[in-house]
Amino acid sequence: MAIEVKNITFSYPNSQVTAVENVSMTIEKGERVAIIGQNGAGKSTTVKIMNNIYKPTKGTVTVDGINTKNKTTAQIAPHVGYVFQNPNDQIFNDDVTKEIDYVLRYWKLSEEEIKRRREEAIDVTGIRPYLEMHPFDIPLPIRKFLTIAVVVAVSPDYVILDEPTAGQDLWGCAQLRTVMDYLQSKGKAVLTISHDMEYVAENFDRIIVMAHKNIIADGKTKEILYRPDILKEAHVKPPLSAQIAQAIGIRTKVLNLKELTAAIS
């Protein structure tokens, strides 16, 4: 049960410039993986190939054994959920519950099933206080949790989060952790693209580093964040606590402030 990506190459339809060159990776069910790297390194393209929005020009992608070559994006959606950066591209109902129910009704699920999934999704994403508001009246960062609720209601085995912490405040980040713990408890895999190194160090145990259109490193978070050469090649800075630890010569591999305080005293 995994997403296998075997040396895929992709170039946009009307341009010879390749966006991604011969990338291979495997995401097991229940894993928590973060893809980091500079803009233009091919992160978004690789992820969009995994949930079949783009079809690779070379190489194959299989989701739980299903080859995505002759499947449409919508057929892969029940297996791989995608939360986009801009929630406004998806919302078209004038009511929160209708928005969450739409896809479930589209797949002709039973009414109780729809109700159960919708209530669970609303509780997990914490948008219950905003149920009566019009989706476009809800402030943008909180509206993003509506699109997360839609994906949670579909409950695919693999969930992709594209820059989830962009524009989020403390409440938002805490709510995001609850969502990720809920997905972890259901045994779902969570894959994210993010520039927020603190969020990545805190929540993900495996990191894939991408630069100039292919993968340059793939390993445990603790190893990758303490390899200055890899991070330099990917133009990525380690989290603040790691930077301080290295600056004052602490040997233990520190990932967050708590570990740093313990290491200092």
């Binding site: 524009g167 405040d169 004052i248 402030l257």
Partner: protein
């Protein structure tokens, strides 16, 4: 240093809402200083910036109580057009700030000045100068619609700075940008500070704010809960109660205190923290 913006017991409610967005704001902003505005989403940060620029009564409607003074003159007396020259405003979404009617970055930067009737020769001089300052001088011939997020935001900055406003209000400029582009934006803000302009930035990236701002204003559920120098405000416990994000170096210092090895002074930037930790290591 004169007071350029003053809030006198300002309360404001957006139209069609039951609750006021901001209640009884009182503060004075001095010319030439850089203010960081922090606080949770929907806490009133953006309303605070809108009030300053006069968008809240003029554009959004709604009910305004108390008055906002810009350079001593009540906002409601200002002419629309004068306001856009007096106060520059840069927004969150880089792509919404592209006019779409200009085919090169050069003309895009000049659009503000064209509207104000600035002479062509003066326009060309200012555009070249500002483009260099904002590092878009290599993109002058590119089409604005084909730029990346970071480049778009810098072009938006350039077209506002071209109007030579003394006060610049910036509402969450880096929330859609990657770390590199965010640093470019804050470098521009640093240059503005050096030119003696008053800069007000609402932002979530608190670590960057701590390094660049002279004063911090914390706003949560509609009222100012703390205002003062960065060092005082970040150490203030009320911030943590109201869920306001504080820089990591400050939370590190607070945790060090709990662990019994406090810092002598509250650090604000990473370099400072490293220096203090090194001294502590030799001291032991």
């Amino acid at each position: 240093m004169g007071v350029c913006i003053e809030f006198q017991d300002v309360s404001y409610a957006y139209p069609l809402t039951r609750k006021a967005a901001v209640r009884h704001l009182n503060c004075q902003l001095e010319t030439g200083k850089c203010y960081g505005v922090i606080g949770p989403n929907a806490g009133g940060k953006t309303t605070f910036c809108n009030l300053m620029r006069g968008l809240c009564p003029n554009f959004y409607g709604g009910i305004l109580k108390g008055n906002v003074l810009v350079n001593g003159k009540n906002l409601l007396e200002w002419e629309e057009e004068e306001l856009s020259v007096q106060i520059g405003y840069v927004f969150q979404d880089p792509f919404a700030q592209v006019s779409g009617i200009k085919e090169t970055v050069f003309e895009e930067i000049g659009m503000g000045m064209e509207n104000l009737g600035v002479e062509a020769e003066e326009m060309i001089k200012r555009i070249v100068e500002i483009a260099k300052m904002v590092h878009v001088d290599t993109l002058l011939q590119k089409n604005p619609l084909a730029l990346s997020g970071g480049q778009c935001q810098r072009v938006a900055f350039a077209s506002i700075l071209a109007l030579n406003s003394d006060i610049i209000v910036i509402d969450e400029p880096t929330s859609q940008l990657d770390p590199e582009a965010s640093n470019d934006v804050f470098e521009i803000i640093d240059l503005l500070k050096k030119q003696g302009k008053t800069v007000i930035i609402a932002e979530h990236k608190v670590d960057l704010l701590a390094e660049y701002c002279d004063e911090i204003i914390a706003i949560a559920d509609g009222s100012i809960i703390a205002q003062g120098s960065a060092r005082e405000v970040f150490a203030d416990p009320v911030l943590r109660e109201k869920g306001v994000r504080i820089p990591q170096v400050v939370s590190l210092a607070l945790e060090m205190e709990e662990a019994g090895t406090p810092f002598c002074r509250m650090p604000i930037t990473m370099e400072e923290t490293i220096r203090m930790l090194k001294e502590k290591k030799e001291g032991k």
